[in-house]
């Protein structure tokens, strides 16, 4: 599938901002799964300076700054990304989860060793005892890793309620666990915590979902925000995507932008302003297919993206 993506972020400040500096993770990378053929990042007012680098996790990263009094900042990222369809592996034929844990722990070099870095706690995902307690029932001895993962995803999907009012980007995980409510970021952080507590490398993915309405209704621009999901490492398969918010193994309807240990590593836009005091933030994302495809609403009807048993 090929998508045209429009991601707009708007800051409205209470008083003038004279200088602001930002770090953005907005450019989708090209990799084995997807190809980014166009990308443009624009701001209003225009940037005084823009510089790109690659961060520790290999994500394209942009630093930009705005100088001169302004009350509003608009950041627009436009891209065209083609996502290749994926043949999902037969879950029952994946290795037992203990093998995954042990290889990532003991191998000294190679992809499994590298992935081992993602078993440690990170700033937004501390090691909480509740994570292991919740996760363990999905991991009986000898069960194939992706069967475990599917079961855990299903349970989280059933037990947690999607509720945009329940949390903010700064809500600590203890609270999410206690109230069992939140948005995609909270679902992802919680599931990553469960995986890591069992020694399975898991990382946070920030990206987009195809914006698609039910049949017969016009497509809404800006109906969606950016999305977040999870990847776990399976030796010989590599990183496997899992979307606990939608209870799916993502296929070609998820567009990856950046991955890291948690939200803090890959936040789409981070900024520090001089002045401004309080601000309101509005975000709109539009992901439109460039090639005609069968529209479906991922959360309500997960079937086309690889249903979970």
């Amino acid at each position: 599938m090929k998508y045209r993506i429009l991601h707009k972020t708007r800051y409205d400040y209470e008083v003038d901002v004279s200088l602001s500096q930002h770090i953005a993770h907005l450019r989708p990378p090209s990799n084995a799964r997807q190809r980014c053929t166009e990308f443009r990042l624009t701001t209003k007012p225009a940037t005084a300076l823009k510089a790109d680098h690659e961060d520790y996790f290999g994500n394209p990263t942009t630093f930009f700054s705005i100088q001169g009094d302004h009350r509003r900042l608009e950041v627009t990222a436009r891209s065209v990304v083609e996502v290749m369809p994926l043949e999902l592996p037969n879950r029952e034929q994946t290795p037992p989860w203990e093998i995954v844990r042990d290889r990532c722990r003991s191998e000294k070099t190679g992809p499994a060793a590298d992935a081992g870095d993602f078993t440690f706690e990170s700033p937004m995902i501390p090691h909480l005892p509740g994570l292991l307690n919740y996760g363990a029932p999905s991991f009986p001895p000898g069960r194939p890793i992706l069967t475990c993962a599917g079961d855990l995803t299903e349970r989280i999907f059933q037990d947690f309620k999607f509720d945009p009012k329940a949390t903010t980007v700064a809500t600590p995980m203890e609270r999410v666990m206690k109230r069992r409510r939140g948005v995609c970021q909270d679902f992802a952080h919680f599931q990553i915590g469960c995986f890591r507590s069992l020694g399975i490398p898991a990382r946070y993915v920030s990206g987009y979902l195809e914006t698609s309405p039910p049949p017969g209704v016009a497509r809404l621009i800006g109906a969606d925000a950016s999305h977040a999901w999870v990847q776990i490492f399976v030796p010989d398969l590599g990183w496997v995507d899992i979307d606990p918010t939608n209870n799916v193994f993502p296929n070609d309807r998820h567009v990856l932008v950046a991955c890291g240990r948690d939200f803090d590593d890959v936040s789409p836009i981070r900024g520090v302003m001089v002045g401004g005091q309080e601000h309101t933030l509005s975000v709109s994302v539009d992901v439109a297919p460039l090639t005609p495809g069968k529209p479906a609403k991922p959360r309500a009807d997960p079937s086309p993206s690889g249903p979970l048993a």
């Binding site: 700054s65 100088q67 078993t119 002045g275």
Partner: protein, 831 residues
């Protein structure tokens, strides 16, 4: 020789601790060769003289204001540094081998950091556990890929050394984040070389100045762009940091401006210092702020100590930071166990200085060892330092040890275990006797493009008790100078007499940081506001004392209404004065009562504290006296006592103002202090008259109090010999250019200061504020008081009150304009 020292009265009662190496004497009790000269000299002095010399040390430290802030110390302003008279003595030949080991260690840690933030071959090829980075909160991922100048991460490296019973030196720990102590070592030396000048000279003690010159040159050479005068600054977290004294001291000694986060700004990926003259390029930052706090944009977002954009500036190669951001990654005992093999792998050398035996619990075999030997080990956090004291396994009950192990097992990566170290002992002078105390030596290495240099000396820290196993300034303890004895005379050298350069004479200190100007401006405002509040309250108190008390004279009534109008006292006192003494007590002593004397004085004190390095010790003493005068002695106070106190405060404040006039050089700093005072006085005068007019539109009874509060009573009486009239009072307090308390006088003074302010526009045109002041001054002088008064009183026209309100608001606008122009640089553009 032995026969000579056998008679030493100093050594007679000295009993080294069994099982520990003593630095001064052999186990037989006879002195080590390098100490003989010093012992003989001190013996000759005799016990009384030794006490007197120690007293001199204490006095110099007190006078120099050497302090060390202890966390959790409610006094806050730091406690005096402690320095013992007896130095630690190490002969040069022994030092040479320590030196070689230190230099190797600095090179090694730099290579490790360079690998961690780059190719990571140590993980991929040398078999270093990945968890050493993955679980390490001081490995800063945003710093990955940034190459510091010359590939040097650690420019300043500190190493804590201890000596084992067999006489070998061991490394206890490394400091690569923001190593402290070199400044204290230097201060110790300067003090001790004054107190023991002959012993110092004759002992051929290696000098420290050369090391600091190399450090200064090294920092300048790190400047990214070739510049004849690279700008180096020392970044401090501020006066509440434990080692703030050292930051001030080093900045002065090295000749670098001391800056806080608000002094710096990043534009176009370049770092600038905000000065009154505008923004100046910064090339190199010697930081004393932990790296995780250095940039809220990419590191800890909750940091209030950092400079947003600093990391990106380093990434762009526009600024050098020492130590480089991310250097804290190797400041962990977890890495020590790997150093011998890393030295082989990276340098092809044996590790020269051994580290104390360390087991990092993040590995299965090591964790098992720790479980089985917990009783003999010391447990420490692997990556964090703050607040965590080491736990000695042998001192725990079996149940506590099990609990300790359980917490280690839960997060093994966060813990290390180390062998208990027997520290060597040094003599300290106590009650005219020498006694052995455990010590740790902190040594310093400077790494530069052309190699490493070791400070020939160091900071020796001594435990307060014989059996204390932890030596740190944080947990109490004293310090010593460290003398490395050369074989022959050494070359004296000081930074103050710059070798190979001509000292540039500077009349007015250049580039006052904007934050300092801002603070001085507010110091002036608060000092004046305090004085004004004291006068207002004294005006009321004096009328409650003696003959007038209880007797509601018309001028007391008018005064009460003026004070209510000025929001100083609550409106219920308009009808009855009962309880007013309680209000006066509150207004003097209650810090939590906004606008009270205690409140303003405490703001004044906090501001002064942030500028300790710029205030004379006499000024500091006056401020201390002011604070102690304001300590409440009882919950009630008779009006007479309150009056006496208020009179004392007026004198304290006069002394403070006198210091300002007579002792400060006329630079921009002084100018802003004066501007603050004048602006505050002008504003207060205008609002006072406004309040007076509002309550006393027709009568005259407010005029006496107004004159008194405006400190113009005597002038008025001498001039008019009559009951005050509105016109003459207004003329004196508003328009009279010769009255130092009048509005017009303040504007004249402000105008003078404004024309001397630095011009930040490229054309060097007159500053905008100066024109604003001139306009205002002309308006005040040209104002027709007589006509306005007549209109106010006879036609109920509020022209005069409105005009006063308008001037007060112009003055506020002026204050904002100054802040915007000089303090925040909000308008500055860099192209």
């Amino acid at each position: 020789m032995i026969s000579e020292t056998a008679t030493s009265s100093l050594l007679k009662g000295y009993r080294p601790t069994p099982g520990a190496y003593d630095e001064m004497v052999h186990s037989s009790g006879s002195p080590r060769e390098s100490w003989v000269g010093l012992i003989q000299a001190l013996d000759r002095m005799g016990p009384e003289e030794l006490d007197a010399r120690q007293e001199s040390v204490n006095r110099i430290i007190q006078e120099n204001g050497v302090t060390y802030n202890i966390y959790g110390d409610t006094q806050g302003s730091g406690r005096p540094w402690e320095l013992g008279l007896m130095p630690l003595v190490i002969p040069i030949n022994e030092w040479r081998s320590i030196e070689a080991g230190l230099i190797q260690r600095t090179r090694l840690l730099n290579l490790i950091l360079s690998d961690f933030y780059g190719p990571q071959r140590l993980l991929r090829e040398a078999g270093l556990p990945r968890a050493l980075l993955a679980a390490n909160p001081n490995f800063l991922r945003p710093c990955f890929g940034i190459r510091p100048p010359e590939d040097l991460f650690v420019i300043m490296h500190a190493v804590d050394l201890a000596r084992a019973p067999d006489g070998r030196w061991w490394v206890l720990s490394d400091r690569t984040q923001t190593p402290s102590g070199a400044g204290y070592a230097l201060e110790n030396r300067i003090v001790l070389s004054q107190v023991l000048p002959d012993e110092f000279r004759e002992g051929h003690v290696e000098r420290l100045a050369g090391f600091f010159r190399i450090l200064r040159d090294t920092l300048q050479r790190l400047a990214p762009a070739a510049r004849s005068q690279p700008k180096v600054v020392l970044l401090t977290p501020g006066p509440y940091n434990e080692t703030y004294f050292e930051h001030v001291y080093l900045a002065r000694y090295l000749g670098f401006p001391l800056v806080e986060r608000d002094d710096l700004t990043v534009r176009d990926r370049r770092v600038f210092l905000k000065t009154l003259e505008g923004l100046q390029d910064v090339d190199v930052i010697l930081r004393r702020v932990d790296d995780t706090y250095c940039d809220p944009l990419e590191l800890r977002a909750d940091s209030i100590l950092g400079v947003p954009g600093l990391l990106e500036s380093a990434r762009a190669g526009n600024v050098a930071i020492a130590n480089a951001l991310g250097s804290g990654a190797v400041q962990t005992p977890a890495i020590t166990a790997f150093l011998p093999s890393l030295a082989q792998w990276l340098l092809g050398e044996e590790l020269l200085l051994p580290s104390v035996a360390t087991w990092w619990c993040g590995q299965e075999a090591q964790l098992a060892y720790v479980r089985d030997h917990l009783r003999e080990l010391v447990i420490k956090p692997a990556f964090t330092w703050t607040g965590a004291e080491p736990v000695f396994g042998g001192r725990l009950k079996a149940r506590e040890r099990r609990a300790l192990y359980a917490s280690i097992e839960k997060n093994p990566f966060a813990f290390v275990a180390q062998e208990e170290v027997a520290l060597s002992t040094v003599p300290v002078l106590a009650s005219q006797q020498l006694a052995p105390r455990p010590m740790v030596l902190r040594a310093f290495v400077c790494a530069g493009p052309s190699g490493c240099t070791v400070l020939p000396g160091g900071l020796t820290r001594v435990s307060t008790a014989t059996d204390r196993l932890v030596v740190s300034m944080q947990s109490g303890g004293t310090s010593k100078d460290t003398w490395i004895l050369a074989d022959g005379p050494v070359n004296p050298l000081s930074l103050l007499k710059a070798a190979g350069g001509i000292v540039r004479l500077e009349r007015a200190a250049a580039d006052v940081p904007s934050r300092v100007a801002d603070n001085l401006y507010w110091l002036g405002r608060y000092a004046e506001r305090l004085e004004d509040t004291v006068r207002r309250l004294r005006c009321l108190t004096v009328r409650l004392v003696g003959e007038a008390s209880g007797d509601n004279t018309p001028d007391l009534e008018a005064l009460i209404r003026v004070l209510i109008r000025l929001d100083l006292i609550p409106s219920e006192f308009e009808d009855s004065l009962s309880g007013v003494e309680g209000v006066i007590h509150r207004l003097i002593f209650r810090k939590d009562h906004p606008g009270s004397i205690a409140d303003i004085a405490s703001r004044l004190g906090s501001l002064a504290f942030t500028m300790r390095d710029r205030l004379s010790s006499d000024t500091w003493r006056i401020l201390n006296r002011l604070q102690s005068d304001l300590r409440p002695r009882s919950s009630r106070m008779a009006p007479g006592a309150a009056l006496a106190l208020l009179n004392t405060l007026i004198l304290d404040l006069a002394a403070f103002a006198g210091m300002e006039t007579e002792n400060m050089t006329r630079g921009h700093g002084w100018r802003f202090l004066e501007i603050g005072r004048r602006l505050e006085r002008a504003t207060n005068g205008a609002t006072l008259l406004q309040a007076g007019l509002a309550v006393e539109a027709l009568g005259f009874s407010a005029l006496d109090p107004i004159l008194e509060m405006a400190d113009s009573t005597i002038t008025y009486r001498r001039r008019y010999f009559a009951q005050p009239q509105w016109l003459s009072v207004l003329d004196l307090v508003l328009s009279d250019d010769t009255n130092p308390r009048s509005l017009s006088f303040q504007l004249g003074a402000l105008g003078q200061h404004a024309v001397n302010l630095p011009s930040t526009s490229p054309e060097g045109t007159q500053v905008q504020e100066s024109l604003q002041i001139e306009t205002l001054h002309n308006a005040v002088r040209a104002f027709n008081l007589e006509a306005a008064l007549e209109a106010e009183f006879e036609h109920e026209d509020t022209q005069l009150s409105d005009q006063l309100a308008g001037w007060a608001s112009d003055l506020r606008g002026l204050s904002d304009a100054l802040a915007r122009h000089y303090f925040t640089h909000a308008d500055t553009r860099v192209s």
